[in-house]
């Protein structure tokens, strides 16, 4: 048997090899940086890379492994972290000019959990500015390219994380998902990505975009890594008042091959107009695999899908306009030069520090929250959100899992999306309702289009049913690999 390249291992496999003494942690870090040296210039997955720090940390982790203090499944694994998760002493930019030189004084809870498990953070990944975008093209630091075809986008907003995993520039990554920002880039880059139930992972230290929608989750090479990372970062945290007390976060216990009797519903509205025929046939072929393995698969009417996007953009923009008020040029971040008057300083700082997509959403959000429009737009959207949640409740009374595409197409070409924001927003149609309803969703690769670009399959579960999703995704992955 030919020796496998160290980069071929999944995160969990790598950690096993390290604990057995077959590799040193520094070997893994060096291997990843060797890969980065070859591909990063073209792909641009990272905003910040910290090799010296990673090597120093690797030595410390190795000592703890050797001493038997670190025995977990992620010990010694090099990780990438999306650049909207605070990392103490490591620049955190949100891919914005506003935070170009911001160095947090604390780390996000999810990052701390990973580090406690012995992960080595090697750098911060590129993203759409403040996570606002679906292609990673709104980054102040330039675009990331899709490793599967560099003429195409990696998706977004966690595009750098997805691309870094796909390009083997790390073994796994963290992202955040407000309207599909983990699942869609995972789909475009051919990796696994999961958004857990709202409240499963603490948002402490995640730079907020739409607080009622944001969740942190993993982007990985396979479903096992996804389950293991999610159970590592899931926690109840007093510092995030929306974090839930859960006792069922042993997600790796669901890595079983069995979907017999699983009730799977495919929303007819997810297969209709706008869906690329190649994506549709890949998704339906995946549904057939579940049927052959004993699942009961049928189509049903979910309804309201077309209302999810306007409801989402209203709510997300409203929350963004409030969350981004803090960027005023006083305590941290960019400050407009040569301005002596306070209000002018605020205005100029924000006008110069934010990019066009961020300004667009802040303005829309300010408008829908303004007196006179609050009821008609913001409260209306919250009422529609309640209807969408109810539609999902009814669906989950009949089905264990909802199956569909992640996105209507495979990854678009670079430069095709930003000219028409509304069209770009429409690409979020299958992922967005999951955030509105607080549900878990996973994206797993299910084939390629004629051009070789990956297609993603989305599985959606009822709240707190990550294990059902992981078991279904694992069963599918084992069957087709």
């Amino acid at each position: 048997m030919v020796n496998r390249d160290i980069l071929d291992y999944t995160a969990v496999e790598l950690s096993e090899k390290i604990k057995k003494g077959e590799f040193r942690v520094t070997d893994a870090v060096e291997a990843v940086f060797g890969q980065i040296a070859g591909t990063e210039e073209e792909l641009h997955c990272y905003v910040t890379l910290e090799k010296d720090r990673a090597l120093a940390r690797a030595a410390g982790v190795q000592e703890q492994i050797d001493a038997g203090a670190l025995t977990g499944p992620l010990a010694g694994v090099p990780f990438a972290v999306k650049d909207n998760l605070c990392t103490r002493g490591m620049r955190t930019t949100c891919s914005s000019k506003m935070l170009e030189n911001f160095v947090p004084a604390y780390s996000a809870e999810a990052v701390l959990k990973l580090e406690e498990a012995g992960a080595v953070i090697i750098g911060k990944t590129n993203m759409d500015e403040f996570a606002m975008g679906s292609t990673t093209e709104t980054s102040y630091f330039g675009v990331t390219r899709n490793p599967r075809n560099t003429a195409h986008v990696p998706g977004g907003s966690s595009g750098g994380s997805a691309a870094a995993v796909a390009a083997r520039e790390c073994f796994a990554a963290l992202g955040s998902d407000t309207g599909g920002s983990i699942r869609q880039p995972a789909s475009y880059c051919g990796v696994v990505g999961m958004k857990p139930t709202y409240g499963t992972v603490s948002r402490y230290g995640l730079v907020a975009y739409g607080s009622s929608l944001d969740q942190i989750g993993p982007l990985t090479k396979d479903v096992r890594d996804c389950a293991v990372i999610l159970e590592t970062i899931a926690s109840h945290d007093e510092k995030d008042s929306t974090s839930m007390r859960r006792t069922d976060t042993d997600f790796s216990s669901a890595l079983k091959e069995d979907v017999k009797g699983l009730r799977i519903g495919i929303p007819k509205d997810y297969l209709g107009r706008g869906l690329d025929p190649e994506v549709k046939s890949a998704v339906l072929a995946a549904a057939e695999v579940f049927r052959e393995k004993g699942a009961v698969v049928e189509e049903f009417d979910l309804s309201l899908a077309e209302y999810a996007i306007p409801a989402y953009y209203t709510i997300a923009a409203a929350e963004a306009s409030s969350n981004l008020e803090r960027f005023d040029g006083i305590k941290y971040g960019y400050r407009a030069p040569e301005t002596d008057e306070l209000h002018l300083l605020y205005k100029r700082t924000r006008s110069q520090g934010f990019g066009p997509e961020v300004k667009r959403r802040i303005m829309l959000g300010s408008f829908v929250l303004s007196s006179g429009y609050y009821d008609a737009y913001y409260l209306k959207a919250l009422r529609v959100k309640a209807l969408i949640k109810k539609a999902f409740d009814q669906a989950f009374a009949k089905y264990d899992v909802i199956l569909g595409p992640v996105a209507p197409t495979t990854a678009p070409k670079l430069g095709e999306s930003l000219s028409d924001p509304l069209k770009m927003y429409l690409g979020d149609i299958y992922t967005i309702s999951v955030n509105l309803a607080g549900l878990p969703g996973i994206s797993i690769p299910c084939g390629e289009d004629a051009g070789g670009l990956p297609v993603g399959l989305q599985l959606i579960g009822d709240c707190f049913r990550e294990k059902t999703l992981i078991q279904a995704a694992y069963t599918y992955e084992q069957e087709v690999k």
Binding site: V103, S321, L342, S351, K359, R360, M363
Partner: protein, 98 residues
Amino acid sequence: MANVIDDATIDYVGILAKLELSGEEREQAKKDMAGMLDYIDKLGELDTTGVEPMSHVFPVQNVFREDVVTNGDARDEILANAPAEKDGMFVAPQTFEG
């Protein structure tokens, strides 16, 4: 049903959002916002009479904890990010005559 954003509205939004738009940006913003509002108006097709607005999907309310300081003194790390700093304080433009 097409929305038109006039100059007064975009000025008002600029005040709320604390943004100063250049001439070209301003015209684009008027167009973009009108387009988005046309699209959002689609929500009007749904009858939501009697539906309570849902801000949070789980019935979590009033999460309290003891008001105890748990973080340490990170003053220097925090001030290191300040655009301007003097004697351990943030420097901002003068807001009143002293």
